[in-house]
């Protein structure tokens, strides 16, 4: 067996399936759980399924290029791949969705590739095992449809146990008292299963082997646990429905109450109107008498105002009711559209106030007029957002500032604002992601999802353009670095774990890209910047350090990053700082 560098620092790992809506999702989940159980049964590892994109191991079905630089090739050949333990995509297992998979665990290959076997292999990578040259091992790279049956070949078992240790025997309530009993148990276990014995060894026969009974019992327990979990979820769902129904009834009752109140009000109103008419007719019959009764007039006025107030209140209540009704309707429509069944948060009984405030402006120039300026970074203690040779001089970019370094060193007055040179860049510019000078001697800036092309300091017509116009994925949020590689004079762009090459004639990303950044050996992922210096060499930057790249060996010239400030900003060495060479 072979181990691949990193392993998980914990033994309680979580996993999650990404394509939970695929037709055979439940079968896949069951198979993955079975495969993980095989690894768990022979080590200290435990696995728990979670519904989260933060799980240690993500199971994904994907076709062709799926964003990790390792594209699938359609039916046949490459079936799946997985990443060794680590942060981010570390531990994830990807399966080619174009394969004909057999999710029923049948050993007959005519029904498709046995998913369980492939999952078992890939999850071995997820746990830190590399390929083994032993043909019977699970970690043998070529697909073989071996019977899994809960056991691991010795090669894989030694491998996983070297990484995570052997499983400690968990005793029930009747733990044996003496070592004698333990010895006996050990002997019994040795008798029960012998991997080195042929299939006719009585204890290796599945029908004789008590281990298999135990496995079956464990499977039954597991099945029971899943059933209970499912039942619990169903009850939870039921409870939510009841809660929803109850809430709906309460609201209905309130609505009826309001309706009754409204009818009562209308009745009173009608009554008042009738009295008023009656009173008027009396007044018309005997006006002098009426004129002499100012108190009654006041009383009438008061009543009228009261009626108006009540009418207004009634109108407001009616409006609120309609508002609630509309919200309920919208919520109901939303839930039906999404098919979601989450409980609905009751809508607040407030009517939105009218406002004269305009919509947020889309002109970004107006956003940050009063925003305080960022302080200038310390030249000798900063990382670089971008670095490039422009017109034969070195430009280093950090935040909204740049340094300019010519043949006689750092220019006076720098760092200065980037926009003092390229005023067509956004007024609220906080940083540039990458910069390079192209073959037409235009200066190209990458800022977020857009790029700007300048003829000297004038923005070229039609820019900025979206990154997608270069053939980059529309989901790409930014570029880490862009540079022309001295080895072949081609233009490269990097972002996260991937990089692309641009065809200078078409101005588009070339076929076969993206590829994984690991080809630039020693540089790692998520770099800050890169550029080709006047010496023709390529330099990669991350945090406060940089690497020189050896094009012939395709790896960094020095494993340990050197301090950028010393070389590029010509900062003095601190008192107790020693050169790598001197060290």
């Amino acid at each position: 067996f072979a181990l691949q560098g990193p392993k998980w620092s914990r033994t309680d790992l979580t996993w999650s399936m990404v394509n939970r809506s695929m037709p055979d999702a439940s079968k896949v989940e069951r198979m993955v759980q079975t495969a993980l159980d095989v690894w768990a049964n022979h080590s200290k590892l435990t696995f728990r399924e979670v519904y989260s994109d933060q799980a240690d191991i993500q199971i994904l079905f994907a076709r062709r290029a799926h964003g990790d630089g390792y594209k699938f090739d359609g039916p046949g050949q490459v079936l799946a791949h997985a990443f060794y333990p680590g942060e981010g995509r570390g531990g994830d297992a990807h399966f080619d969705a174009d394969e004909t998979w057999n999710f029923d665990g049948e050993s007959d290959d005519s029904h498709g590739t046995n998913f369980l076997n492939v999952a078992l292999h890939e999850l071995g990578h997820s746990l830190g095992l590399a390929h083994s040259a032993i043909p019977d091992a699970v970690m043998f790279p070529w697909y073989q449809n071996n019977e899994v049956a809960g056991n691991l070949p010795d090669d894989d078992r030694y491998g996983i146990q070297q990484l995570y240790g052997t499983k400690e025997k968990t005793w029930g309530p009747y733990k044996p008292q003496t070592t004698t009993t333990t010895t006996t148990t050990t002997t019994m276990r040795a008798m029960i299963y012998r991997a080195d014995k042929p299939a006719y060894w009585p204890w290796n026969n599945p029908s004789n082997n008590p281990n298999n009974d135990r496995n079956r019992a464990r499977e039954r327990q597991e099945e029971e646990r899943r059933r209970q979990e499912k039942e619990r979820r169903r009850q939870e769902e039921e409870r939510r429905h009841q809660e929803e129904e109850r809430r709906r009834q309460v609201e209905e009752r309130q609505r009826q109450e309001e309706e009754r109140w409204r009818q009562e009000q209308e009745r009173q109103e009608e009554e008042n109107r009738r009295r008023k008419i009656e009173h008027k007719s009396q007044w018309e019959r005997n006006p002098s008498k009426e004129r002499n009764r100012p108190r009654e007039r006041q009383e009438m006025e008061r009543r009228r105002q009261e009626q108006e107030r009540q009418e207004q209140e009634r109108q407001e209540q009616e409006d609120r009711r309609r508002e609630r009704e509309r919200d309920r309707q919208l919520e109901w429509e939303r839930r039906n559209r999404n098919g979601a069944r989450e409980p609905v948060t009751p809508t607040a009984n407030t009517t939105p106030r009218p406002t004269n405030k305009p919509y947020p402006t889309v002109h970004r120039q107006h956003h940050h007029h009063n925003k305080p300026r960022k302080p200038k970074p310390d030249s000798c203690m900063t990382y670089y957002d971008a670095i490039s040779i422009i017109r034969g001089e070195l430009f280093i970019f950090r935040g909204p500032y740049l340094w300019r370094i010519g043949t006689s060193g750092l220019y006076n007055g720098y760092p200065t604002e980037i926009r003092r040179h390229w005023s067509a860049l956004p007024e609220n510019l906080t940083k540039v992601d990458a910069v390079y000078e192209n073959k037409q001697r235009q200066i190209v800036f990458f800022i977020g999802r857009e790029y700007y092309v300048f003829n000297s300091v004038m923005l070229a017509p039609g820019f900025p353009k979206p990154l997608a116009s270069l053939g980059l994925p529309p989901t790409l949020t930014h570029i880490d670095a862009s540079f022309v590689w001295g080895h072949n004079n081609r233009t490269y762009m990097t972002s996260g774990t991937l990089y692309w090459r641009i065809d200078d004639y078409t101005g588009q990303v070339e076929l076969d890209y993206p590829r994984d950044m690991s080809i630039w050996s020693g540089v790692g992922y998520n770099i800050d910047a890169a550029f080709q210096y006047l010496d023709g060499k390529t330099y990669f930057f991350k945090n406060l350090g940089y690497w020189e790249f050896n094009d012939d060996r395709m790896k960094v010239a020095h494993a340990r990053a050197k301090l950028s400030a010393r070389r590029w900003m010509q900062c003095a060495r601190s008192a107790n700082e020693v050169d790598d060479e001197q060290r």
């Binding site: 060794y84 942060e87 570390g90 697909y143």
Partner: protein
């Protein structure tokens, strides 16, 4: 043997050897040409790993081997393997520095 050799072109063989780490993956980018000996050595490694007769030639068994369905992860612990942390582990932990 000749028939198999014509069926599996050297291009396909090169790509396979690079894809699964028998030749440096960086050759994909640099377009570096390998000597005949380097190619033979890589084929020998593949044959040895695949548990078939080691000849250093693209024979019928090798042709069959590279057409078999398999895992996409490389077969060797190389610097350009899948793990993001691998580079740091390989480079960082084993470097001995002369005083």
């Amino acid at each position: 043997s000749k028939k198999a050799k014509t069926a599996i072109s050297e291009d396909i063989m090169y790509n396979y050897l690079m894809q699964f780490d028998y030749l440096p993956k960086s050759d994909l980018e640099t377009g570096a040409l390998r000597t005949e000996d380097q190619l033979k050595e890589a084929i020998r490694s593949l044959q040895s790993f695949g548990n078939i007769t080691v000849t250093g030639e693209i024979d019928s068994a090798t042709a069959r081997l590279i057409q078999k369905p398999r895992c996409g992860v490389g077969d060797r612990r190389s610097a350009d393997s899948f793990s993001p942390d691998n580079l740091y582990h390989e480079i960082g932990s084993n470097v001995r520095v002369r005083r």
